[in-house]
Subunit: 394 residues, 2 copies
Amino acid sequence: MKSYNENLQNLLNLAPKWDFIERVSLDRALGRILADDIVAKSPYPAYPTSSMDGYAIKFTNQNNKIKIINIAPAGNSDDIAISENECVKTLTGALVCDGADTIVPIENVKLSGEYIEITRPVSQGFAIREVGESYKESELLLSSRTKLGYCELALLAELGYSYINVLARPRVAILSTGSEVLDIGQIKEHKAQIYSSNSISISSLLKDMGCEPIIMPIIKDDKQAIQTALQNALISADFIITTGGVSVGDFDFMRDITRESKIIIDGASIKPGRHIKVAKINDKFIFALPGFAYSAMVTCVLFFKEFIEHIFGLNKKNRFKAILKDNHTKKSPFEEFSAASITNENGTIKISTATKKSGSSAIVGNLINGGVLLICPSDKDGLKAGEIVEYIEI
Amino acid sequence: MKSYNENLQNLLNLAPKWDFIERVSLDRALGRILADDIVAKSPYPAYPTSSMDGYAIKFTNQNNKIKIINIAPAGNSDDIAISENECVKTLTGALVCDGADTIVPIENVKLSGEYIEITRPVSQGFAIREVGESYKESELLLSSRTKLGYCELALLAELGYSYINVLARPRVAILSTGSEVLDIGQIKEHKAQIYSSNSISISSLLKDMGCEPIIMPIIKDDKQAIQTALQNALISADFIITTGGVSVGDFDFMRDITRESKIIIDGASIKPGRHIKVAKINDKFIFALPGFAYSAMVTCVLFFKEFIEHIFGLNKKNRFKAILKDNHTKKSPFEEFSAASITNENGTIKISTATKKSGSSAIVGNLINGGVLLICPSDKDGLKAGEIVEYIEI
């Protein structure tokens, strides 16, 4: 079986580019991925602007009695100029009048009729936002493929954008299989039935990634029914994720179906996820993930998330370093991805698997409350407390 | 002026509890805040279950020739039992038959007709998920006020939930003011006008916090118009956030309005955000944030986010430690919150403000691409490279 890295490289080498662009209003763009570089068309501020409420003066007049000749509220567009020993009362956000080079805050002056006296002098240029303080003309402000958080949206709004080009969301069909598996909302009929969490977990994870999930009804382990569902999904979905039915047992019809086309990944020397398969049918990718909830989530992160980020053109770092807090023992000869928790201790990221339940790959609860995946390479038997190790955010 | 901590304590002491609960389907619950403790009603798995495809045997028969008497696919609910030297072919997820205590994977046996011979023995209990491996009866699985990510939703789905109680989203009206400010989508008419980013940034931030933002049209600095807008917002919104118009200048009508009621915060010795005001009108809270985009976002995080998390009953940690990478100089005598960037260097979180533009509180771009806020206490002139410092995630 191939390693995780070799499988992933093979997959990414075959991955298409995703250049399907959607135009959305800024108030619906949170979390979307920008499709264009955003470059400043003009400097900002475009004119010297006051950053405080104060009086716009010539710096060299600071020791004199200065006459207030006008008032400039924010939004004022009149051209105003001062001569020697004159000033303009200038409010926060207002353009600074011609001839002035400094704003003296209102708290720093004594007012007497039409005149001010400066009680606490300031430095030259004080409280003036120079042209281009925020950005210069032609400055690259946001790169294409930036994920839009509220700060990025603030910048776009300031630039005057009201609509923006973002990557369209790929439609991803999720097909969970398994004769023992109940659909969400279905009533339990006998003791061997279990509720599947895969539709809900994978669809929620896909939303976070920028995809549009379509949860298909659960299919029993029936070759014909699975084939029909896959064929329907292939018509309209961009990608398909299946869960369950991919181990080497008698009831594994998925394997037969995916063999009817090009297999890109056929198992990986990893735990969990040894039986993962990725196939291409009619130029569409099908990710056949394991059925156990923990394994399905982990392999979705390890393969599908990397795949989507690659086709989107994101340049995202998903692996981080931490210091191992407790010894960690490996369970298999494979590369292992184990549920772990991290804490920030005085600026050092400590990671531990001792906080998690040990057992099979079926334990969903191990990933809640901000869990991460500790990576233990295949050539090691375990990791020692104090070592610098790698983890993946999930 | 009071410190940030004193102001925040005063605010939180007066904050109401938010116990307005909404019932939502699990497929719409991503990012919502759970309203109940979730306790396991029964152990899971409820019966010993196979975690691999294999043969269910008595461990002590491992060296014998064993007869396959039945097959148990996942979902099978028939009661099956084995005697000495008998086994049941048992697929992943299937219940383990009575009398068996070990699963031998199919890769570890040689099949001859109706019999198996074990070529690679396993340990007792191998590949069996014991009753309660995932969780015991009465175990607390998720605490009330947990934010529901995909892993938490997976656990709820596994437990059989299809609908869940979550905190309803408070309606928060956002009222940006300023005569120089253009609404999103509005055409610029003269040079002194600027596009406001506050409606977009604050509304996006509110969505992340679990609120339902209502963006009101921008109001010019006109006392009557602002009062009318506030009165309309007070009818239906749970909370109100205003931006702009809160400094001590001539056009600051907001200040007059908030003085008509109980003022809870009237300025804070912090930078940015010195002029923040929080008032209570008719038992509703109004947060009057500064107009500059950077200041508005920072004060929204420092005050409104803490307020919402408090009334929601979240027990969230927002401050983290890091090692300062470059010397940092303070600009004011106040407690300062400066845009900074963090990197994980071999498990140590390094923070720096040297990567950010220096200038006024108007520079929105300083917070993009995962910025954080470095905290510099009021009694320090700056922070030295190598120091352990505190930062706030934004």
